[in-house]
C-alpha cells in the first residue's frame, strides 16, 4: 500500500451525501415550520448536538467518557455568571461558555493524560462529580439552590424563538463541522488511531495531541449546548446541570444509533425522543426501557442500529470512509 497519508484519499458515495444533506435539511425545515411548541425541537437540536460532540470523542477516538455532564454544567454556569456579573447579552455569553469549557477540558485532559479505557471513563466521571459538589458549595453561584439569569433586556415575546434559532444553528454547524473535520487529514488520523494506535503513530500521526483536540472539541460542543438549554429555562442548579442523566441520554443516543458514524446519533436521537414522548405518562418505565434497549443493543448489535444497516448495505449518508483508487 502506498501510504494512506501521502496519497489523496477518495471518498466514496457522494450520492449518499446528497441524501444526508436532504435529510438534515428536511428535519431542520420541519423543526422550523411544523406548528408546535418550539421547546421540544430546541431540546432535540441541543441533545443531538451534544450526542454528535460526544460521538466525535467516543466513536472516533475510542475514549468512552462518563463525565460530559461536567461540560454541560460548566457551559451553563459560565453563561449565567458572565451575564449576571458583566451584564452582557446572553448570546454573547455563549462565547464565554465555549472558551471556559475549552480551558476546563484542557485541564482535565492534562489530569487524565495517563488514563486509558475504564480509567479514563471513571476518572472523568469522578471529576464531574467533584465539579458538581464544588459548585454546590460555591456561594457566588447560589450554591445548591442554583441561580436565576438576571437579564432585564430579554423580550419574552421573541426570546423563545431566539433560543430555538441558536440551538438549530448549533446543531447544523456541529453536524457539518464534524463531518468536514472527519474528512480532513486530522479526522482520518483520528480513525486510524482508534483502529490501530501503533500503526497510526508509525505513519506520523500524533495520537496524544489528536485525542486532546477531539476531547476539547466535544467538550465545547456539549458546553454550548448545555448553556443554550439552561438559557432557555433562565435557571440553573448544580443537581440538574451536572446531572448524570445528561450523560446517560447522550450515551444512549450514540450507542443505540451507532457510535463512530455521523448518521447514528440522528437515529438515536429520533429513538430517544419518540420513546420519551410515548412513555411520558408512565413515570419510571421510560428509563427502564431506555436501559433495556442499551443493554440489548450491546448484546445483539454492538455497532448500533446504523452500524447494522451499514454492514448490510454499505450506505453512508455522510461518507467518511474512503477508498484508494
Amino acid at each position: 500500500m502506498n501510504g494512506p497519508v501521502t496519497s489523496r484519499p477518495v471518498f466514496s458515495g457522494h450520492a449518499g451525501l446528497i441524501g444526508g444533506i436532504l435529510l438534515v435539511g428536511a428535519l431542520a425545515l420541519s423543526a422550523i415550520f411544523l406548528p408546535m411548541d418550539r421547546r421540544l425541537p430546541m431540546e432535540i437540536c441541543l441533545v443531538l448536538a451534544m450526542a454528535q460532540g460526544w460521538n466525535l470523542l467516543c466513536g472516533y477516538t475510542g475514549l468512552l467518557s462518563f463525565g460530559h455532564q461536567a461540560f454541560i454544567g460548566v457551559g451553563a454556569y459560565t453563561l449565567f455568571l458572565v451575564v449576571n456579573t458583566l451584564g452582557i447579552s446572553p448570546f454573547l455569553g455563549l462565547a464565554f461558555s465555549a472558551v471556559v469549557s475549552a480551558a476546563v477540558a484542557v485541564v482535565i485532559a492534562l489530569l487524565l493524560k495517563g488514563s486509558r479505557d475504564a480509567y479514563f471513563s471513571i476518572g472523568i466521571w469522578v471529576l464531574a462529580d467533584c465539579l458538581r459538589l464544588l459548585v454546590g458549595q460555591w456561594d457566588l453561584v447560589g450554591s445548591a439552590q442554583g441561580m436565576v439569569l438576571n437579564a432585564p433586556d430579554i423580550d419574552p415575546a421573541t426570546f423563545g424563538d431566539a433560543v430555538f434559532w441558536a440551538a438549530l444553528a448549533l446543531v447544523l454547524v456541529t453536524q457539518f463541522a464534524v463531518f468536514g473535520l472527519l474528512r480532513t487529514r486530522f479526522g482520518l488520523g483520528l480513525m486510524a488511531i482508534r483502529d490501530n494506535e501503533t500503526a497510526a503513530a508509525s505513519v506520523g500521526i500524533a495520537p496524544g495531541r489528536s485525542r486532546v483536540i477531539a476531547f476539547v472539541a466535544s467538550a465545547v460542543i456539549c458546553a454550548v449546548a448545555g448553556a443554550i438549554y439552561y438559557l432557555s429555562v433562565l435557571y440553573v442548579d448544580p443537581a440538574g446541570a451536572f446531572d448524570l442523566d445528561w450523560q446517560i441520554r447522550i450515551l444512549f443516543i450514540v450507542i443505540v444509533g451507532g457510535a463512530g458514524t455521523l448518521e447514528g446519533p440522528l437515529i438515536g436521537t429520533a429513538i430517544y425522543f419518540l420513546l420519551r414522548e410515548f412513555l411520558q405518562d408512565h413515570g419510571g418505565l421510560f428509563l427502564i426501557v431506555q436501559g433495556a434497549i442499551a443493554a440489548l443493543t450491546m448484546l445483539f448489535a454492538p455497532q448500533g442500529l446504523w452500524g447494522l444497516v451499514q454492514a448490510r448495505t454499505g450506505w453512508q449518508l455522510f461518507p467518511t470512509k474512503w477508498v484508494t483508487q
Binding site: G62, K113, V126, L133, Q137, I248, Q290, A292, M298
Partner: protein
C-alpha cells in the same frame, strides 16, 4: 475536638468500602469487565436484606446468608446471559451494557420501593457502645468491621487454598492455559461474577444497617468502589482493604470538616493519588534508593 472517633469510624466503614472495591476489582481482574451496575448491586443487597428482615423476621446472620445466595445467583445469571457474550479486547460493550442494567435496577427500585431514603432498624444493638482509647464507639460498627475482615480472610483462603481460587488466579493471567487444563472458562467467569456481586451486596447490606440508603445511592457507591480499586490496585486483597480504610477515613474526616461536602474529599484524595501514580512517584523514590 478530637478526630480520634472520626478516624475510628472511618476505619470501621472503610472495611466495607474495601469489600466494594474487592468485588469490582475481582470482576475486572479476572474478566476485564468493568461492571457499571456494581453500585446498584450494592444497593440491591440492602433492599433485598431489608425486605427479608421485615417479611420473615429471621435473625440478621441468616438474612446475610440468604442475600449472599440470591445475589450470587444474580451475578451468575448476569455473566451467563449477558457478559459472557461480550468478552474481548474491547471493554466498551460490557461497560455500556452494565450501565443499561444499572439504569434498569435503579429505576425498578424507585418504582417498587419509592425514592425515599431508608434505614434498616435491627433493634437495641444499634444503640450500644463501648469505650476504646477513651472514646466511645458503637458495638454494631465493630461487628460489621469484623464481618468485613472475616470476608477478606475467607476470600484469601479461597484464592490460595482451593482449586477454584487457583482457577480464578489462572484466569486472570491466561485463560487459554486454563482451558487446556479442562476448565470451562465461561463457568469460571460466571462463578467469579457471582462472587463479586455477592461480596458487594453483603457489604451494601452491612453499610445500610449503619447508615441510610436510597435507590440513588448506587452511583456514589460505585464511585467509591472505583476509587478503592484504583488506589489499592487490581489483584491485591490487602491493597483493596487498605485503600478501603483510607477512603473511609478521608471521607469521614471530610464530612467532619464540612458536613455538606458529601464524597468530595474522597474524590479529591483519589485524584491526588491518581496523579501521583501517573507521575510515577514511587518509581522516583525507588530509583533514588538504589
Amino acid at each position: 475536638m478530637s478526630f480520634l472517633p472520626t478516624i475510628l469510624n472511618g476505619l470501621m466503614v472503610g472495611g466495607l468500602y474495601g469489600l466494594f472495591g474487592l468485588g469490582l476489582a475481582f470482576a475486572f481482574g479476572i474478566m476485564r469487565i468493568v461492571n457499571i451496575a456494581h453500585g446498584e448491586f450494592i444497593v440491591l443487597g440492602a433492599y433485598i436484606g431489608a425486605s427479608l428482615l421485615s417479611v420473615t423476621h429471621l435473625p440478621l446472620p441468616v438474612v446475610i446468608v440468604l442475600v449472599a445466595v440470591i445475589t450470587f445467583a444474580l451475578g451468575w445469571a448476569l455473566q451467563t446471559v449477558m457478559l459472557n457474550r461480550m468478552i474481548g479486547p474491547n471493554p466498551v460493550p460490557a461497560m455500556v451494557a452494565t450501565m443499561g442494567l444499572s439504569i434498569i435496577i435503579r429505576n425498578a427500585l424507585v418504582q417498587y420501593y419509592g425514592a425515599d431514603i431508608r434505614a434498616i432498624d435491627i433493634g437495641p444493638l444499634q444503640d450500644q457502645g463501648v469505650s476504646i482509647f477513651g472514646t466511645s464507639i458503637g458495638v454494631l460498627p465493630i461487628i460489621i468491621f469484623c464481618t468485613a475482615v472475616l470476608l477478606f480472610v475467607l476470600m484469601h483462603l479461597l484464592l490460595t487454598r482451593t482449586t477454584l481460587g487457583r482457577a480464578f488466579r489462572a484466569a486472570a493471567d491466561d485463560f487459554e492455559i486454563l482451558e487446556t487444563l479442562g476448565f470451562n472458562r465461561k463457568r469460571v467467569y460466571a462463578i467469579a461474577m457471582g462472587l463479586a456481586v455477592t461480596l458487594s451486596a453483603i457489604a451494601g447490606l452491612l453499610l445500610a444497617i449503619r447508615s441510610s440508603y436510597s435507590p440513588y445511592s448506587g452511583v456514589e457507591r460505585l464511585l467509591i468502589s472505583f476509587e478503592v480499586v484504583i488506589i489499592g490496585g487490581i489483584g491485591s486483597l490487602r491493597g483493596s482493604f487498605l485503600a478501603g480504610l483510607f477512603v473511609g477515613v478521608v471521607q469521614l474526616i471530610g464530612l467532619r470538616i464540612n458536613p455538606n461536602s458529601g464524597p468530595l474529599f474522597g474524590h479529591l484524595a483519589f485524584f491526588l493519588i491518581l496523579l501521583a501514580k501517573q507521575a510515577n512517584l514511587p518509581a522516583l523514590f525507588l530509583r533514588r534508593r538504589t
